[in-house]
Symmetry: D2
Subunit: 340 residues, 4 copies
Amino acid sequence: MISFMNDYSEGAHPRVMELLMKSNLEQNIGYGEDVHCERAKKYIKQQLQREDVDIHFIPGGTQTNLLVISSFLRPHQCVIAAHTGHVNVHETGAIEATGHKVVTMPAIDGKLTPAAIIEALESHSGEHMVLPKMVYISDTTELGTIYTKAELTALHKLCKEKGLLLFLDGARLGSALTCKTNDLSLEDIAKLVDVFYIGGTKNGALLGEALVICKEELKEDFRYMIKQRGAMMAKGFVLGIQFEALFEDNLYYELGRHANQTAEKIAEVLQKCGYAFYAPTCSNQLFPILPNEVLEQLSKNFIFMEQAKVDEKHSAIRLVTSWATTDENVDALCEFLQNI
Amino acid sequence: MISFMNDYSEGAHPRVMELLMKSNLEQNIGYGEDVHCERAKKYIKQQLQREDVDIHFIPGGTQTNLLVISSFLRPHQCVIAAHTGHVNVHETGAIEATGHKVVTMPAIDGKLTPAAIIEALESHSGEHMVLPKMVYISDTTELGTIYTKAELTALHKLCKEKGLLLFLDGARLGSALTCKTNDLSLEDIAKLVDVFYIGGTKNGALLGEALVICKEELKEDFRYMIKQRGAMMAKGFVLGIQFEALFEDNLYYELGRHANQTAEKIAEVLQKCGYAFYAPTCSNQLFPILPNEVLEQLSKNFIFMEQAKVDEKHSAIRLVTSWATTDENVDALCEFLQNI
Amino acid sequence: MISFMNDYSEGAHPRVMELLMKSNLEQNIGYGEDVHCERAKKYIKQQLQREDVDIHFIPGGTQTNLLVISSFLRPHQCVIAAHTGHVNVHETGAIEATGHKVVTMPAIDGKLTPAAIIEALESHSGEHMVLPKMVYISDTTELGTIYTKAELTALHKLCKEKGLLLFLDGARLGSALTCKTNDLSLEDIAKLVDVFYIGGTKNGALLGEALVICKEELKEDFRYMIKQRGAMMAKGFVLGIQFEALFEDNLYYELGRHANQTAEKIAEVLQKCGYAFYAPTCSNQLFPILPNEVLEQLSKNFIFMEQAKVDEKHSAIRLVTSWATTDENVDALCEFLQNI
Amino acid sequence: MISFMNDYSEGAHPRVMELLMKSNLEQNIGYGEDVHCERAKKYIKQQLQREDVDIHFIPGGTQTNLLVISSFLRPHQCVIAAHTGHVNVHETGAIEATGHKVVTMPAIDGKLTPAAIIEALESHSGEHMVLPKMVYISDTTELGTIYTKAELTALHKLCKEKGLLLFLDGARLGSALTCKTNDLSLEDIAKLVDVFYIGGTKNGALLGEALVICKEELKEDFRYMIKQRGAMMAKGFVLGIQFEALFEDNLYYELGRHANQTAEKIAEVLQKCGYAFYAPTCSNQLFPILPNEVLEQLSKNFIFMEQAKVDEKHSAIRLVTSWATTDENVDALCEFLQNI
């Protein structure tokens, strides 16, 4: 069986593993205050073209999301998200468990718009309702789409005007930044959002997300929060080393690009076969709509996720590629699709 | 500088790294449902001599503590701990952040006694106070001491009689189980407590704790809790592989033993030098009381933690050894101590 | 200005005040363990035709809702509510502040259906999502509608089948039980739901809701929860005395009936005037749709709430009557409506 | 049986009831935005000699405590309290349930000192521990003692210097302010603390505490918090009316004075009888140490609380007087004590 189930089926990219091996017997300071974390932060800040951000390495995405939201909101404040947003759907109420409501708005292709945010603001008035204070978006979104620079700028402006914090979940930022149609750089993002993270788990690391706090007022005491939520690793250098490897020579982008290119190859075959898509194709997640009998055949040799039932005879599935996706596996899938 | 600061300064034991490398490019199922986690659980169950436990791999200790306590207590219930307990002192209020009070009792050498628990129960009566429902102990304790089989049996009996859950934090269980004076086996512990964990981070792993739920009623839906608290790793196999390596051929015990033996060597020298100890010496944590001028000299070449000021002229420090402690470093320290 | 803003503009019904005055200088036991609370519970149990329920008097509705939901759910469990449900919209995230997600379903006229609950269950699968465990309904609903015996029985059956707790918010139960079209008794409700409350604040009391726990497993330690959430009043007898007055001779029903009858009178005039309604008219809340210019005129002499903009020229408003609504005020409103 | 159990055994002072009766059928705006609340605030501000405070009426003390602490602390911050503090002992973990640790310090006669606070600060360092940010004191304390102006000034200075918020629980402030030895006025208190409340429940009201927020930065959005915690009463005017009655002509002080004077009378008799006291006598709470056989006799005719076992033959009890304590009951107790 060949898996296109997700982008976290393999371990870390060999160059990441290599650096872990190389530094394995060093004595490092604990809790993320070591030289590797410092170096990784330096490399990332170079990408951001600025020094005045705080960077923290967090083990996983849900943890980063709950940390950010619970640390920056007061008790009565809520976060606005697309109804498809990861924090709403697939985190077992992690945000609510910290005391905050997630207010959701309908979103096309997983993307939140200024109009939707304004609508959310207008439907919340006064002290009998929660107070919207943060906007959560993800790039790529849960449907594999990306935000353009114009779109992110529009969100930035609105948030600034309305006093909202803008938080970008970059669990799949590696893929987003290397999409063909992408026009956003890390530098842009750091200017346009208040806090975001650069996902490692889904782009070459064993685990780890690099959280970037851009807004000065949000920086204070954040390490207390990390510790309190159980996200401060004794061996914090394990995360630092990985981001060092990913960012010392642009490996991060290379891996994202590979994931996108393998997806593109598959997408082309799907299009040639005449299949429609449940969401626009752009990054390392594809959502083709397949006849149920094709799906049945496919599932005999390939592992993937069923996304949604489209009608009686068709279903949308999710195919995901990653840095680790091999040409052999892509070819096997393409061949299968062309011959069925 | 040579560090005796803690037991999490190095990466993972080479045999753990080796298995990570070997399986790095396999395609594994996500979220801890892979074959490595299965294998690791099988090995641990063999040690426990029983099949009817649930085992979950959690990234870190604070996370495991907050998960266990918040999942098994109802809102009005509290946990009883030694005043030195990690959950009370060094977790930035992680337990309270989940809504539960930690009721602390004075404890000699970090160990909770039946008498202290009874006192805690007697001082809590009725609905205007929290209801004690769980007892938290650690082995080794935060002061490096261990529980004997007789002591743990006494705690077990009392807890059973009083309807309390007994939870053992085994962040340093590797050292505890291989102490010279230890008479407890993993099998014993699984019989005597309701839930405990086998610490990987401080005994050979990059990260990871193996949580063992022994009591049937506590098992239900625990994976939901793991996910909600952000402790379910996408690449759960990274934890499984490490515990597989630690338990497939008793590496775990070997590493604990090494840590203890190196500590013992240092302890002998300290004793010969005539230094007293702040807490009994037994495991991989030593708490010698040193004259301030010795301490000052020591700090020029060695890294360690200051534990407590004992009097105007003396302080207790903490020296920690681990699986990674080398003979060279031990010799350097011993030589220094003997020659000062 | 005459207010039809809500059903909590006046103090308590004179007979309630009378009993408060009469017992004012008695020495009563604190925290709701007094003879008045006992007597009130006895009267309510007589209405329920059963002894095996626990009754607690809670100061307010939001408090009762958050108490019930947070006490009976485990951390990963959520409550299903109509999207119009009070716990979703108008409690400033009180439920989420206790750690639980409110999963909402579209609902016609404020009423949750078995189909909607099944849909909610089907869209939640597995540990990456919250686990639905409770259903929240209100009677009357936030739109003034009521559940029939058949409807409540259907919800009861489904909840039992699916292992869900059924919780009925009866903040306006006085009005619901005395609706012309109502076929539910308190006895029925106690059989069909697991927990519910009988609202005092909106039906004759200064404050207070009588929470009835019907399900045996939910009773344990509930007074701890009341205390923890700040809902245990030192002078609990103040609540007990009021429910004693409301239930010793059916004053509660009398007051609900008065509220409904005055509303009916107004509804008839509105219908005669040819106005449509935003929600079916039945209880003490009316939602007529008025031309904006009528609304403007109305607002010069009457206080009411704007419910929703219907189109450019029309808005729905909410008119509420209560036990305290006078004939004079009703006549004034009717006259105004007929003459505009 | 005559009760000296507590100061909340009776309803409200007749003048409070009178105003409730008088305004009972008025139509008032809901949620504490009515004219009575406004008037009560005006009267209280006159006592404080300042306009720039926010005043909110909250149903009860535990609720006020949890509201204040959870609203003003960020997740990692804790409150320092005397080990005897109400928030630590007798609120069923209400503070922890909002996510915050209560750090307790030993306190003589229930009073927190600058030295104790400094000790608490010094024992908390860095992100692995909670961050002290608020100091909780009560006046009178749980042992009936009061703070002098000098003592409160010292606490104020220290808190200012250390960036700590100072919160005074005035559930029994009526008794404190009218103690013979008291030298603090409401005006002083408003200058020296950041937030405090004036207890109504224990000094003449049916229920209600007047929370005064003195520090500008703490005022924002507080009504959201009140609503979220279930503390915003639909009929907020019920609280406003009571404080209006208590403060329009100094009834509040009159009632406190009465409570203290009746306590003093009893204290004199106890002293004459040669009994020692568990805590200094000053306000409306007395803690005499009685031989067990006296205690046994006493309990046949009087209701009171046992405070602590002092030795095999003696126990300390708590006797509480209030505005409602009658001369007859005081005489009966004094006579009993003198004749045993």
